[in-house]
Symmetry: C2
């Protein structure tokens, strides 16, 4: 039957040009909404299908999204628009729409750059190295310490590990450094690809937890670069934040594959509130 | 008569709802095209006008753009679309269009988050500090070392200073660190505001020069966060790059105002080619 992630981001042909349909399940929920990383991967999957006519530009290379209204499980329209189909790169837009009683409500709008990362593995002038952290087996698993999202179904879809140093928040002792280090992979054994990296950039617990900010930190804007096709195995993830002001903070994520190659990085703007742990 | 930057990003009412007009002068050129930072500031100015109905959301807080075709001096249509006008934040899109013989060509498309940064100065949980660098007077000015863009008009609009340590590329001895540190302000004395910070995030020489990559590094995608209203005076700018692979590289920029407050940060994806200095 295939893997859960592939089923979740599968698109089927629509009636209008540039329109496709998908179904958001109840299995990638965080709180009452659908996980933003799934929405972005779905949007990118729709664009990949649209730009796959000649097979030239299968990969998102840059993807920047805003989220006007919260998504819910159910039918979704994936509406794409190609702004320019170039020789080596294409620019495009994707929108996710859901019925909302009165009509269609827009859940996500993104602009994206597509190309072929398979042709961009070389030359390597320099590449950011991953921080040296404990192996997944030596890290804290999501079965124990990470129980804050027990009512979300998202955590069942993945295997998350955090270093002991950056998992203190789960016991109420955040480091205060604004940093999380760890590993992530799909629970059902699906190996990572570029769309999985886009998803994973948003899949770790909020870095805000490491500052003792345990409230909801909604993603207001998300911008990712995908730089290489990941090799099979764990993805190493690093989250950081430095500027936490006026109810806004950035969350910077970087992901390396099992060979230590940087495969993606992102910056999102999140909201936060001063609130004690509930 | 006002200041040059204000004239360049001035919009006048259009015929259609959400449509405004502007004129790109020949005075902010880099090569044959119009500087991308000017295009983004113009787009943000158009959105600010659109969202200014109740005066609630005057400031871009996040702004992510792609550039399907190169802009040229001349008339430009600024077409805005408000996706959601919220209580504290609004999501919107802006497009820049120019006549291109056959019809309208899209020069830039951006999604943006707007709000009121004046209400977001507090609380400050943490904020990135600027690197300690030499004062503008102790840095290298654009009148001497920076002569590589002598045919561009952009440089006449601003005063750029780089630290001695990161200006070596101008004498053919780049540090190889992938880093530029310096200062920027408008040449005509206009003080910075949020739109100026958006412009300035893209206004320094390419960080690629510090790696000895002296060729053209076109901006493929640009994503910025604006975090505070800047105080008057110089803007301190830091540029970095870490992953330079397969003809793509990121350029990370951070800007602090004269009080040392982080006012903006950005990441852009640029193209690069192995080429000797021309």
């Amino acid at each position: 039957m295939g893997f859960e992630f592939d089923r979740e981001i599968a698109v089927r042909p629509g009636v209008q040009p540039g329109e496709r349909y998908a179904v958001l399940s109840d299995q990638w929920r965080i709180g009452n909404g659908v996980h933003g990383g799934v929405l972005m991967a779905l949007g990118a999957a729709g664009l990949a299908a649209e730009l796959d006519g000649d097979g030239a530009h299968p990969d998102p290379i840059a993807f920047s999204a805003v989220f006007p209204t919260p998504s819910v499980p159910g039918e979704v329209i994936v509406r794409t628009e190609v702004l320019r189909a170039g020789v080596s790169l294409s620019q495009a837009q994707v929108r996710l729409l859901q019925s909302d009683g009165d009509g269609l409500a827009e859940r996500m709008r993104a602009v994206a750059l597509f190309g072929d990362l398979g042709k961009r593995a070389e030359p390597v002038l320099r590449s950011a190295s991953p921080p040296l952290i404990a192996s997944p087996d030596e890290c804290v698993g999501s079965d124990g310490a990470i129980d804050f999202l027990a009512h979300s179904t998202l955590l069942d879809r993945m295997d998350i590990r955090l270093t002991q140093e950056t998992a203190g928040w789960a016991q109420g002792t955040p480091s205060g450094n604004g940093r999380l280090d760890g590993w992530v992979r799909f629970a059902d054994g699906r190996e990572p690809d570029v769309l999985a990296v886009l998803w994973a950039l948003d899949a770790m617990p909020p870095v805000a937890f490491d500052l003792g900010l345990y409230g909801w930190t909604p993603t207001l804007e998300f911008s990712a670069h995908l730089r290489a096709h990941p090799s099979p195995g764990w993805l190493q993830v690093e989250l950081r934040t430095e500027t936490v002001v006026g109810g806004l903070m950035e969350e910077d994520a970087r992901i390396w594959d099992s060979t230590g190659r940087l495969v993606g990085q992102s910056r999102q703007l999140c909201g936060w509130r001063l609130r004690q742990r509930g």
